[in-house]
């Protein structure tokens, strides 16, 4: 069946490929582009391990066709900070012990980037609802909340400083 040419920007770089209609975006990223930081944890769009950003908005890449992403601006975990540096969320998850096995972590962080963009100063309740589409089996979520709180504070300071 149909093959389609797609071109998109991924982590700032232009990528072109010919793909099957049914190729899920998560597989395109993991297999065609060899970027395995985005993970697969379920088959019913429930777990969020595959979360990336499309045009800045968090999306479960397992529920998105690659062909639909033609022209999109995509960010994955590999692209949120320059090599050798850390995004405030990466730093915060490390400082606050927000990860154990690390499998849900990339999706969780990508979701939090969108969340903090729309709600820079969330309450604990808002954080918990904000990550309700991302399952973690290891951490019990307490420290993920603390990680987001630390990152929110740092990112607010950065914003103030740059104004």
């Amino acid at each position: 069946m149909g093959k389609h040419n797609v071109t998109m920007t991924i982590n700032g770089e232009s990528v072109s490929a010919e793909v099957d209609s049914r190729l899920l975006l998560v597989h395109f990223i993991r297999e065609n582009l060899d970027m395995t930081g985005t993970h697969i944890g379920c088959d019913t769009s429930s777990c969020g391990a595959c979360t990336i950003l499309i045009d800045g908005k968090s999306v479960k890449s397992c529920t998105y066709l690659t062909v639909r992403a033609d022209g999109a601006n995509i960010t994955t975990i590999e692209g949120i900070a320059a090599d050798g540096t850390n995004h405030p969320l990466q730093k915060a998850f490390h400082d606050q012990h927000g990860l154990h096995c690390g499998f849900c972590t990339p999706g969780m962080i990508m979701r939090c980037i969108d969340m903090l963009e729309t709600n820079p100063n969330p309450t604990e309740k808002e954080i918990r609802w904000g990550i309700s589409g991302n399952l973690c089996r290891c951490t019990g979520y307490n420290n993920i909340v603390k990680s987001v709180q630390q990152a929110a504070e740092e990112m607010s300071k950065e914003k103030e400083a740059s104004v």
């Binding site: 049914r22 998105y64 979701r111 589409g133």
Partner: protein, 289 residues
């Protein structure tokens, strides 16, 4: 996890969508947000031969008050509904519902049109549309159709949309003074479909007499249902606690829930009673503000 193979077509305009649909026939399905259809395709519960992607059609994503109506474009995403200033201030029932629909990432791409056009009584928006006395605007190769919400839901996954037609806009009577709406659903965990959900919209006159009332129920029948008998109890009367009790009882009686993993039929009927009363009170509170 992997859908069966299919042909993908992108429509850049409504006309193109209709033409593709006419050409490809019954084996073609429209995809807007994709977060209902694609999951079904991944489990191979749906195996359409063709997908017509309408998500990129311009001009179908908007929220505006225009004349006597609140008009929402069908491709407006749930997240856009959540953050919209008009809805927050004048139609808070949307905020109630969106907060309880799926999860934030799914809401980024799920559309209000898709949530309604699917014809699924488990989705949240149908109950809101019934309560708000919405009008569905659909378009097809043969022009625009105006469908009152009471004529929209025909059966399980079946709506008034003709093959090839696309739901393009939702029109809701503009918010009046002394009116208010509220929605709540009981769910087993966040992101779940409703165990039972109730949408209420009420309009009072200056003396507190109920002029208009709409009550829609989520996931307690095969087809999205209105609690007509309950509405009759209140229409034209001053709302009292006794009347609210009556409506609660009617909700428990008239719905058709089934015993399943979310609970027994008796439990669901009881929940409906409770939530109907609560939403009536919440809608009234908002109406009286």
């Amino acid at each position: 996890m992997i859908p069966a193979n299919f042909n993908y077509h992108k429509a850049s305009s409504l006309q193109e969508a209709f033409a593709l649909s006419a050409e490809l026939g019954e084996e073609a399905k429209y995809m807007s947000g994709g977060h209902s259809l694609l999951p079904m395709m991944k489990l191979r519960f749906a195996t359409p031969e063709h997908i017509i992607d309408i998500s990129k059609i311009e001009g179908l994503s908007y929220i505006k008050e225009d004349g006597d109506f609140l008009k929402i474009g069908a491709l407006t995403t749930q997240t856009e509904l959540e953050h919209n200033a008009i809805l927050k201030s004048k139609y808070p029932i949307f905020g109630d519902a969106v907060w309880l629909t799926a999860d934030p990432s799914v809401r980024n791409f799920g559309t209000i049109g898709g949530n309604i056009a699917h014809g699924d009584a488990a989705n949240d928006q149908p109950a809101l549309m019934l309560a708000l006395r919405a009008t569905i605007i659909a378009e097809g190769a043969d022009g625009k159709k105006t469908i009152p919400i009471d004529e929209f839901f025909h059966g399980f996954y079946m709506t008034a949309l003709e093959p090839g037609d696309i739901l393009t806009e939702i029109q809701i009577p503009k918010s009046k003074k002394n009116s208010g709406g509220a929605y709540h659903k009981v769910e087993r965990k966040v992101g779940d479909y409703a165990t039972a959900g109730v949408a209420v919209h009420i309009e009072l006159d200056d003396d507190g007499v109920c002029q208009e009332i709409g009550i829609g129920l989520t996931n307690v029948s095969a087809v999205p249902m209105r609690l007509e008998r309950g509405e009759e109890v209140l229409r034209g009367k001053k709302v009292t606690d006794e009347l609210i009790e009556q409506v609660g009882v009617i909700a428990g009686e008239d719905a058709e829930p089934e015993s399943d993993l979310r609970g027994s039929e008796a439990y669901k009927r009881s929940i409906l009673n409770t939530i109907t009363k609560r939403m009536l009170n919440k809608a009234l509170e908002r109406a009286r503000q």
